[in-house]
């Protein structure tokens, strides 16, 4: 696809040589990579399955054992990982835009921590039904989001993007402490499960988890895509955004809440997976997707691919042991974070 055809901003022969965002090439590459990784995710594991058998098993043909592994064990796992990656990346991208900070993400903003407190509270009080855990995570994320906004507003006198980030870090630390206190008295067996969940895992994925998260990603992610042009304007700063007709405070709040619920849904499904929401939108921008709508689409695809890959590493790096998913994403994310800090400096 030619460079000129590869963008959607006005094509104008009088201004040749103008740089434009080009996002089609990285998008196509990302989709191909995601498909390949999904097939590998279905094929590789404790029992390796030839690719041809995987493709047959996806449509229900072939050996019954292979079909069961592909469709019941690995299928939901791979899809859940993809949805988590997509959800966290879109959430992070939207938060970065509305807070005008390329280092913002649900994990750093305390939103994931709040969701985790909600989910852990539900489990501790015996509400272990996945839907109850999901709703509790939403409630926790909403409380964290509102607390962070209120703290920032009280301290700065108005909604201040930098103050929001600082308040987020503090609320996140507080959430962690609450979880540790809640888990301190838990029996050893439960503790290991809870800890595992705190580090993120898709090892127990079910089709039910996939369905619930898919709905959340479609609803909240879709709403953020709808608001993408508002994000373009909000990313300019409060006054320029107001000058261009944005309802700065109201739209910022909507986006903050939508992005928080999206992150909370991933937390309820698989626990805390950090740094994806930070790293992926920055990669999407570096690949040329600068406006928010293409950036969020490219981020969703790359985030999905990254998490499917991370899950593959988590279950193959030290077989038969599994590594926590959140640890793998942090191992990838932290060096990136440091490089990004250096670039910003």
């Amino acid at each position: 696809m030619s460079k000129r055809a590869g963008n959607s901003v006005g094509v104008n022969a009088s201004q040749k040589g103008a740089v434009r965002s080009s996002h089609w090439k990285p998008l196509v590459l990302g989709v191909v990579a995601l498909c390949v990784l999904c097939v590998l995710g279905l094929a590789i594991g404790a029992i390796s399955i030839p690719i041809a058998d995987v493709l047959r098993a996806v449509s229900g043909n072939g050996d019954a054992g292979t079909v069961a592994i592909v469709r019941e064990l690995r299928g939901p796992r791979v899809l859940l990982a993809a949805l988590i990656g997509a959800g966290l990346s879109v959430s992070g991208g939207a938060l970065q835009g509305t807070l005008r900070n390329p280092l913002a993400e649900p994990f750093l903003l305390g939103v994931s921590g709040g969701a985790a407190v909600g989910a852990v509270a539900a489990m501790v009080f015996g509400a272990t039904h996945p839907l109850a855990v999901t709703l509790a995570a939403f409630a926790g994320a909403a409380v964290a989001t509102i607390t962070v906004s209120l703290v920032a507003r009280v301290v700065a006198g108005r909604t201040d993007a930098r103050m929001l980030l600082m308040a987020g870090v503090v609320v996140g630390a507080f959430a962690n402490a609450v979880i540790m206190v809640a888990l301190a008295g838990a029996p050893a067996a439960e503790l290991r499960g809870a800890l595992w969940w705190m580090m993120g895992s898709v090892s127990d994925a079910t089709w039910g988890d996939v369905g619930r998260l898919a709905v959340a990603v479609l609803v909240f992610g879709g709403a953020l895509m709808w608001l993408a042009r508002e994000l373009d304007v909000l990313a300019l700063g409060e006054e320029p955004a107001a000058a261009l007709g944005a309802n700065v405070d109201r739209t910022s709040r909507q986006i903050f809440l939508l992005a928080s619920f999206l992150a909370a849904a991933t937390v309820a499904a698989a626990g805390l997976v950090g740094f994806v929401g930070l790293v992926v939108p920055n990669i999407a921008r570096a690949l040329g997707a600068r406006r928010h709508r293409p950036m969020l689409v490219v981020s969703a695809v790359y985030g999905a691919a990254l998490l499917v890959f991370a899950d593959l590493v988590a279950r193959t790096a030290r077989t038969p042991q599994e590594l926590p998913l959140g640890a793998i994403t942090a191992l990838i994310g932290v060096p990136f974070f440091l490089a990004q800090l250096r670039r910003l400096h």
């Binding site: 006005g10 740089v19 965002s21 608001l227 107001a242 000058a243």
Partner: protein, 266 residues
């Protein structure tokens, strides 16, 4: 009445006892370049924040083309008034053309593609602001002057009847600064309302048909350049010795700040 009407505008920041704007009244009329001048902290930028509704009015009223600001939808406001705020950082940079295209935001829906009118407005704005040579770059790769011109282009792309600029020539060299003043003059001649906030008293005296001098949140003087550019008034407001001369080319009053007399010699 068309243009912008400020009536008894009073604004107070929560943490400060003294009002940032105290009973400010004046009109910016179509076909005129109206300039607001005054020392640092006199309330010039607060005026823009109040116009953008980023700070509530304690008292008074601002009207845009006879419509009270409080009753206007945000998008309707942005289709009527284009504002170039004083400060803006390209934190999440965009290619220049896409940045200027954001000026079409108030005219577009959430999903609509760019119309032919949008594209032509953007082309025209880039041409008027003299920003053609920046199109091969993104907004984080511009000099201070180029960044100002690109921001002016974005405001022009809004195609509004009113344009407000807060120190648009702050980083511009002489030629580019003159080009901006000539552009604002031609916009006013085309019948638009131009409200300029500036520290460039001498250029303002040459170009503006109406000058408002702010001091400590109040209007210290207003009128033509001859009404406002008076030595006694300016010395009192700026707290610096100065003389008023005449611009040899056009006869407009011109301010010359003096050096302070040294009380002791080494």
């Amino acid at each position: 009445m068309n243009g912008i009407t400020f009536r008894d505008v009073t604004v107070r920041y929560p943490s400060r006892p003294i009002a940032a704007l105290d009973g400010v009244s004046f009109d910016a009329l179509p076909g005129h370049l109206t300039a607001v001048v005054g020392p640092n902290g006199s309330g010039k930028s607060t005026l823009v924040r109040a116009l953008l509704r980023r700070i509530p009015l304690e008292r008074g009223n601002i009207a845009v083309n006879s419509a009270t600001l409080g009753n206007m939808q945000a998008r309707e406001f942005a289709r009527t008034v284009a504002v170039v705020p004083q400060r803006e950082e390209p934190v999440l940079p965009l290619p220049v053309r896409e940045f200027v295209t954001l000026g079409r935001h108030p005219h577009r829906g959430a999903l609509s593609a760019l119309s032919a009118a949008d594209i032509s407005a953007v082309d025209q704005a880039i041409h008027l602001a003299g920003a053609e040579d920046t199109l091969a770059r993104s907004t984080d790769q511009l000099s201070g002057g180029e960044w100002q011109r690109v921001r002016i282009a974005r405001a022009l792309a809004q195609q509004t009847s009113i344009i407000v600029l807060d120190e648009p020539t702050a980083f511009l060299d002489v030629a580019h600064e003159m080009a901006v003043f000539e552009l604002l003059d031609s916009l006013a001649r085309d019948g638009r309302t131009v409200l300029l906030i500036s520290h460039q008293l001498n250029l303002v005296a040459r170009f503006a048909s109406h000058i408002v001098l702010l001091n400590e949140g109040k209007v210290a003087a207003r009128g033509t350049s001859d009404d406002v550019m008076q030595g006694a008034i300016l010395e009192r407001v700026y707290k610096w010795p100065l003389v008023i001369t005449r611009d040899p080319a056009v006869g407009a009053p011109s301010l010359l700040p003096l050096r302070k007399q040294r009380s002791t010699r080494l």
